[in-house]
């Protein structure tokens, strides 16, 4: 089995891969720090980001790659008004006015021309019919898209072409996440109580964009689509809120992607405390559940998760990304990875950190996690 076949089998339990595959989502800052490529270029250039993705996939021996930025306009350099290096950060002022500050180790942030954080629109001023898809990682920050440009898929297509034997995953934001990214968390959370009808009308529209993007990613060569649904855990909302504002809309996104590509794999990435809502997550029709943060970051006991999720739902993650991967030793990482494999393998499990590998995680630690997959007793 090559990596792509191994991942495919793991994502379609009860099929059994020849060993538990390994694929961690890496924070963008981890690419900035560990590829030797310029951070601003990784963020803004499809070709450069594809190169960074491949570089670290090969270094770590991952079986899969998550393309977690949209493709970029190939003419993005023409939009630069000026660029300067200050205190280790790159500041790019765009002709449109906004300024992007690129730190050496973390996601860039886009500020207004006045240097201030973007002010989100008020829910009252938002018309649901305006909405299609909210892209949080556009060159100009959080933007409302009415359609997807051709270059949206450039990074994914390039990675697909250069890594035909590796599982390549695309990313979409859930309707609920999109709305929160647009309105800001406080306003969006209050809106659930103040104007649930309007919230639902907005979410309904955002289903269209997410489903369209998901289907297009599959057409561009993605083996799976990850739905980023970071705000759907118990740190933010109740099970009741989940049933009302997340489940119906994520279900429709998945339904629509699968109507277009019936064998597509679509899985859900939710951070933090999700131990109380596996049943609801599964009810969306998702193929898999990603991150599964263990205590203290989240509430997931892996053995409990494996028992409670159906056998046809794969799980990915559960290695503590902070206390083990970032702050632990390679031996800690290796040991914890083997433990996870023993608990959740050999079918329907992808070895991974819960949430992203943080920027300053020592590469030796990531390598130790990946090594565990190849040494695991499950390996055939």
């Amino acid at each position: 089995m090559n990596s792509r076949e191994r991942m495919d089998a793991a994502m379609r339990p009860p099929q059994q891969p020849n060993r538990v595959p390994v694929m961690c989502q890496l924070a963008l800052g981890h690419y900035f720090l560990n590829t030797g490529l310029p951070a601003a270029e990784i963020w803004h250039d499809s070709e450069m980001f594809a190169g960074a993705l491949l570089l670290l996939q090969r270094r770590y021996g991952f079986d899969g790659i998550l393309v977690n930025l949209p493709g970029r306009d190939p003419d993005w350099r023409d939009a630069i008004a000026d660029i300067e290096e200050r205190e280790g950060r790159t500041r790019i002022r765009w002709r449109e006015g906004p300024v992007t500050v690129v730190p050496p180790d973390d996601n860039p942030r886009v500020l207004g021309a006045d240097g201030r954080k973007r002010r989100p629109p008020a829910l009252a001023d938002l018309h649901p019919q305006q909405l299609f898809y909210i892209e949080p990682h556009d060159r100009l920050g959080v933007v409302m898209l009415a359609d997807f440009p051709d270059w949206q898929f450039d990074t994914l297509s390039r990675v697909r072409a250069l890594a035909p034997d590796v599982s390549v995953h695309g990313e979409i934001f859930s309707p609920f996440s999109q709305l929160i990214e647009l309105l800001g968390p406080a306003q969006a959370m209050l809106a659930l109580a103040d104007d649930p009808r309007k919230v639902k009308a907005c979410l309904e529209r955002l289903v269209e964009g997410a489903a369209t993007l998901g289907a297009e990613l599959i057409r561009a060569g993605a083996d799976a689509v990850l739905i980023s649904s970071a705000y759907a855990g118990a740190g933010f909302i109740s099970r009741g809120h989940y049933e009302e504002f997340v489940l119906p809309f994520e279900s429709r996104v998945i339904e629509k992607i699968k109507a277009d590509a019936p064998s597509a794999i679509v899985y859900t990435h939710t951070c933090g405390a999700i131990g109380d809502r596996f049943d609801l997550m599964e009810a969306t029709g998702t193929n898999g559940v990603d991150t599964l943060d263990p205590p203290p970051l989240g509430t997931v006991d892996l053995a409990d998760a494996r028992r409670r999720l159906s056998k046809h739902v794969f799980i990915k993650g559960n290695i503590d990304p902070v206390n083990t991967a970032l702050r632990g030793t390679p031996e800690d990482c290796h040991r914890e990875a083997l433990e996870r494999i023993a608990i959740a393998g050999p079918r329907g499990y992808i070895l991974s950190t819960a949430c992203s590998v943080s920027p300053h995680t020592p590469p030796d630690n990531v390598e130790a996690i990946a090594r565990a997959a190849t040494e695991s007793p499950c390996a055939v």
């Binding site: 730190p103 973390d106 954080k117 909302i237 902070v322 970032l326």
Partner: protein, 214 residues
Amino acid sequence: MSFDKLRFAIQDGDAAAAKTLTSALVDSGSVPAEILNQAMLPGMSVVGARFRDREIFLPDVLLAARAMKAAMAVLEPLLLRDRVPSAGAIVLGTVRGDLHDIGKNLVSVMLQGAGYRVVDLGSDVEPDAFIDAAVDEGASVIGMSALLTTTMTEMAAVVGRIRERELHGRVRTIVGGAAVSEAFACEIGADAYASDAMTAVDRVKAMMAANPSI
């Protein structure tokens, strides 16, 4: 008129009722400090405890905070008139390089709900800005939040600057955030760590009891 109705209005996040009930209590001759201490603060305390225990969730807390704010708009001028002191001042902010403020805002809500005056510096706060604000406002506690593993190290910079400015012992620090832990807090020399907003209130109370102002 009973304080219970106001307490429940805050717990239920009913801003209109909270405002009306506060006005009615004032009109009926209730002492502003008693309205605060016997209705509003206990109401927010229940909200904090229920949030910690995952009986209620972020939208419910934000609604309760809005109700508290509506009631405070009625009460604040009267508390100032009566020279009712706050429980103490605390400087709060998300550290340099970090724009995430959900957790910090939640802690702010709970601290205000416990009667503290919160000097909220927002996000992306420079180390010295925390300390300058503490000195200017007479705050003996600085609360720092960070979501990112790349920015939590900034907390150490603030602790370091407090020592350099010879304010250690007079200005204490409490840290929190998704990736922050008790071990990390000890490692950087912070005075306290809180895993959630209600714990933050408890820890601040303990620190304030020992050292009420700078």
